[in-house]
């Protein structure tokens, strides 16, 4: 066959076209079956999970102690008494909680209350935006979750979070459990390792099997949990009836945690 420029260019064109389409054709021929997974039919689902905390009922450290204990117990959070502490659920004063609403001459009782603090599972989470490895991400149901396998401990999320909801494991968290505590760890949930950031996960592992968050269950009706996008959900009912505040509204993060005042 006589080779000339015209033939060569035609051949090159056809070859290039084939190379471009081959992967797509191969994929179509393969049928591409879906992953063999499904959701637990008993699991709870929502378009956007939200929590309402009744601060008229939960207001002293004593009220919060059992909630914090159950949360930290089931998630294997060690107690570290220093500025390197790890916390998923903790408490703050009015001034710490509602930084932007410090009116003078306020009701003394409101000022004396303790307020529950936790990850706000924001609609626009800054921690997700700044995470360089996508270790923290927002699930379709609004929960800001973490993949500890992927966290490199850069702590950008801690700088990004306006609520201080994230804790860094400065040291090996298992070293902070006593021998007794190590034996009583929740075997169904992992611990973390040194060098990762952690925070409240709205009990995704419990929602997946149809249970409500542990703090909500332990609060005996002083905390509400439900779908913010469902007008009939218990959180929407409470939000209609009671006056609520959210933390740092001007940050524009749209928190999913509401406080009944």
């Amino acid at each position: 066959m006589k080779q000339n420029r015209r033939k060569f260019i035609k051949f090159a064109g056809v070859a290039a076209a084939a190379l471009c389409t081959a992967p797509a054709v191969a994929k179509a021929a393969g049928g591409g079956h879906a992953a063999p997974i499904m959701k637990n039919p008993k699991g709870l689902e929502a378009e956007r999970w939200a929590m309402v905390i009744d601060t008229t009922k939960l207001k002293t450290e004593k009220d919060f102690a059992p909630l914090i204990e159950v949360c930290h117990k089931i998630h294997n959070v060690p107690q570290i008494d220093s500025n390197q502490e790890v916390k998923w659920l903790w408490t703050g004063s009015y001034d710490e909680t509602f930084v932007e609403q410090p009116n003078p001459h306020m009701n003394e009782e409101l000022k004396e209350r303790s307020y529950a603090l936790l990850c706000n599972h924001c609609e626009n989470p800054p921690c997700v935006r700044v995470c360089p490895t996508k270790a923290t991400f927002k699930r379709p149901d609004g929960i800001v979750a973490m993949d500890y396998h992927r966290c490199i401990g850069c702590r950008y999320c801690m700088a990004g979070c306006p609520y201080g909801s994230r804790s860094f494991n400065f040291s090996e968290p298992r070293d902070h459990f006593t021998e007794e505590e190590l034996k009583k760890l929740n075997p169904k949930f992992p611990t973390r390792m040194r060098g990762v950031v952690e925070k409240c996960n709205f009990c995704v592992e419990r929602l997946a099997v149809g249970e409500r968050p542990a703090c909500v269950e332990a609060s005996k009706g002083a905390m509400f949990f439900g779908d913010l996008n469902d007008p009939e959900s218990e959180v929407r009912q409470v939000l209609r009836e009671r006056f609520t505040l959210r933390r740092k509204p001007s940050a524009g993060t749209e928190p999913s945690v509401y406080y009944i005042i």
């Binding site: 992953a35 063999p36 997974i37 637990n40 294997n76 075997p187 992992p190 390792m193 997946a208």
Partner: protein
């Protein structure tokens, strides 16, 4: 050949030293590699997938399980026989394989791999 004798003796010493590790191994270490003996679960005869698949691909399965459970929020795995399993290393795998030291570690130690699963996940025999 100048200095022939010395060169040949030197070469022999050099080759001898070069081969000494092989000779040492051949004389002291048992000749054949023995597969580690795993303690298999008593209550269950079939794993999530076939033996061959689990033996060669369990790490890939675990990798996918992690993303399915954590990222996609889908925590039920349906195997090739249609049986359903909760996607969980601690609660499903280790529910049958009740001892990490007598199962996971055996092959991993021989193969010289040290996966970091247990830096966070809790082995069924507990922590010390």
């Amino acid at each position: 050949m100048h200095y022939g004798g010395k060169i040949i003796i030197g070469l022999l010493i050099f080759v001898g030293l070069l081969l000494s590790p092989f000779a040492y191994n051949a004389l002291t270490v048992e000749a054949s590699y023995k597969q580690p003996k795993l303690k298999l679960p008593a209550k269950e005869k079939e794993c999530v997938e076939s033996l061959e698949f689990m033996r060669t691909k369990h790490m890939e399965l675990l990798d996918e399980w992690r993303d399915w459970a954590l990222r996609d929020g889908k925590r039920v795995y349906v195997n090739h026989k249609g049986k359903e399993f909760e996607i969980s290393l601690q609660n499903t795998c280790m529910d049958c394989h009740k001892n990490k030291a007598e199962f996971c570690d055996k092959c991993h130690a021989d193969a010289g791999v040290s996966p970091y699963c247990w830096d966070c996940h809790i082995q069924p025999e507990g922590l010390k």
